[in-house]
């Protein structure tokens, strides 16, 4: 277990190193000149060169990358070109909002997805089952920005149940969470259904029934815990899927998280912020996958990590 953990952490570090290098090279190749953006249109050629030297952007690629890496191991993500503050501080200020949104989305996914999956499995082959599975396909195929805009139109503009955008109260959280979670709930309902169907076929369920237990007790005490656990392990993988979605959802709802930060930075060619957010997202994805792998042996003791 310890050896496995050490190896996985090492591989994760290597992956993050690779992500940082590729992002760095990509952003280095960016045709838009960040120095021009900082200096403004009226700057003289001399000023532009001064700023370039000051930021170290006149150095060769590998020198710049090495400097970035040495900063990185000290927790320094560099300074924003335009906002005159540390990238790590900008991200730290925005991260709570994003984490809150993700928590809301996970809640929405689990409530919607698991309920749909369980009902579908229990009514297998019925019209309810078919309808729920079509609904799960619709959830998986719905573009998030359309879902977001339509939810806004119906529940915020027309019905006025929720605020149109912004951040702060629980009411603000509902629509963005649902928008981000709807795709995942589609996946969860399908996985939950097949997991539940498998469990319901197991011998110990037949034994439980044969003992004369009530249907409710068989389902709630014997089937559900075993069917749900493997699904819960998937939450780690979800975090990676969310990382793409937050850019869209945060921009639709004006949610002040790191997705919005990244989107603004991309439009203004604020390279250190783009780098920082990409790295933080990659960390979240790698950690999420690691977590998903690490919890499996606790959920299913038959699986050993090697």
């Amino acid at each position: 277990m310890a050896a496995y953990l050490v190896r996985r952490l090492l591989v994760s570090l290597l992956i993050l190193l690779g992500v940082s290098f590729i992002t760095f090279v990509l952003l280095y190749a960016l045709p838009a000149d960040p120095v021009r953006q900082i200096a403004g249109r009226s700057a003289t050629a001399q000023t532009v060169e001064n700023i370039r030297a000051q930021l170290g952007l006149d150095q060769p690629l590998m020198v710049q990358y090495w400097r970035y890496l040495t900063g990185l191991v000290q927790g320094d993500l560099g300074r924003s070109y335009l906002q005159r503050s540390e990238v790590s501080e900008l991200i730290a200020a925005r991260l709570p909002a994003t984490l809150l949104l993700m928590a809301g989305a996970i809640g929405c996914e689990l409530i919607l997805g698991l309920t749909m999956g369980i009902v579908a499995a229990l009514k297998r082959g019925s019209a309810t089952d078919n309808t729920l599975m079509i609904a799960s396909f619709v959830g998986v195929s719905a573009p998030q920005f359309v879902v977001g805009l339509l939810l806004l139109y119906v529940f915020a503009v027309q019905l006025k149940w929720f605020p149109i955008g912004g951040y702060g109260t629980l009411a603000h959280l509902v629509l963005p969470s649902v928008t981000l979670g709807i795709m995942g709930s589609g996946w969860y309902s399908r996985m939950m259904r097949s997991s539940m169907v498998d469990v319901l076929r197991a011998d110990y369920i037949r034994t439980a029934r044969a003992k004369g237990l009530t249907r409710a007790r068989v389902i709630l005490r014997h089937a559900l815990p075993n069917a749900i656990l493997p699904i819960i392990a998937m939450i780690g993988i979800d975090i990676g899927i969310f990382m793409g979605g937050i850019v869209v959802v945060e921009s639709v709802f004006g949610w002040p998280g790191i997705g919005q930060l990244a989107w603004q930075a991309i439009q203004r060619v604020d390279i250190p912020i783009i780098m920082g957010v990409t790295l933080v997202s990659a960390c979240a994805i790698v950690l999420g996958n690691l977590l998903a792998d690490l919890v499996t042996p606790f959920i299913d003791p038959r699986i050993r990590l090697r």
């Binding site: 992002t23 195929s141 805009l149 339509l150 990244a262 991309i266 783009i274 990409t278």
Partner: protein, 294 residues
């Protein structure tokens, strides 16, 4: 009696027949065919030009026309017929769906099959690279790439291809590694067959069903990604109509004219859903590991 009696090898005809029995798959296929026909015959289906800003296409106060009457789905902010733009937008979605996903499929197949067959250092390096790509937040990567190159239809297709090959590579890698250890491959090798012959004549044909499945499901992802990039304004650029950029252009007005979001949004949803339904049914029919489950 029929080809279905042979359980060992799924014959194409029996697979098609089993597919035809699935209502949802047929529904998906019909919707895809309708979209393709709509895209091809767009000029004959609508009297308007997609970029024509009609002087009677706006109300007296300069607002878009609501659906009904002369413009079945209404008009957009610039007084262009929405139905026409959606029909022409189908061309964009389908072209990108097919081209981007085709490239992604080729990259994924080459990487996955090579890594699975060669193993050793080459295989390890290829798969570690695939893992690395998995750790990339796909949409962020696509946004960065789209920002680097000034976006156009073909650049967007390339960007999506670069982001989307990973899943196929992983699936085909697993499949190839298990195939490469089977007896018939060892038998071929003892008979003196070269690597290329084994790969092309014996391994690839076994992978075709999976490639078809992932190719179909991938189009759905591609359509959604194109729409998202275009919605953010870094995908297909106006005036070329794309379902995503119709919403991008009109979103400031969506409270007053929700149909400008609703109709293109439904178009994206229906096309993505159709490919998902078809792909899922294909997986049940073609993928032997899925058989007997439901």
């Amino acid at each position: 009696m029929s080809a279905a009696a042979d359980p060992a090898a799924p014959r194409p005809r029996s697979a098609l027949r089993r597919l035809a029995r699935r209502k949802l798959a047929v529904l998906g296929l019909v919707l895809i065919v309708l979209t393709v026909l709509g895209a091809i015959f767009a000029p004959w289906l609508t009297p308007y030009d997609p970029n024509e800003q009609m002087f009677d296409g706006l109300t007296i106060t300069g607002a878009p026309m609501p659906p009904g009457g002369q413009f079945p789905l209404g008009t957009d902010l610039l007084g262009r017929d929405l139905l026409t733009r959606i029909l022409y937008g189908a061309r964009t979605s389908l072209i990108i769906g097919i081209v981007a996903n085709g490239i992604a499929l080729v990259i994924g197949t080459v990487v996955g099959v090579t890594a699975g067959y060669v193993r050793g250092l080459t295989g390890a390096v290829l798969m570690r690279f695939t893992d690395l790509m998995m750790a990339f937040p796909a949409l962020l990567l696509a946004i960065c790439l789209a920002a680097i190159f000034s976006p156009s239809l073909w650049i967007v297709a390339m960007v999506i291809a670069i982001v989307n090959w990973v899943q196929t590579a992983r699936v085909l890698y697993t499949e190839t590694t298990s195939l490469a250890e089977r007896e018939f491959i060892a038998a071929e090798r003892t008979l003196g067959a070269g690597h290329m012959r084994i790969l092309l004549r014996h391994i690839l044909p076994h992978l075709v069903p999976m490639i078809i499945v992932w190719g179909t499901l991938g189009i759905s992802t591609t359509v959604l990604l194109e729409a998202t990039l275009s919605f953010l304004g870094i995908g297909v650029q106006p005036p070329t109509a794309s379902w995503g950029n119709i919403i991008f252009e009109n979103q400031t007005y969506f409270q007053a004219a929700p149909w400008l979001v609703f109709f293109p949004g439904m178009a994206i949803l229906i096309l993505a859903l159709s490919f998902n339904l078809l792909g899922d049914a294909l997986r049940d029919v073609l993928d032997p590991t899925q058989r007997g489950r439901d």
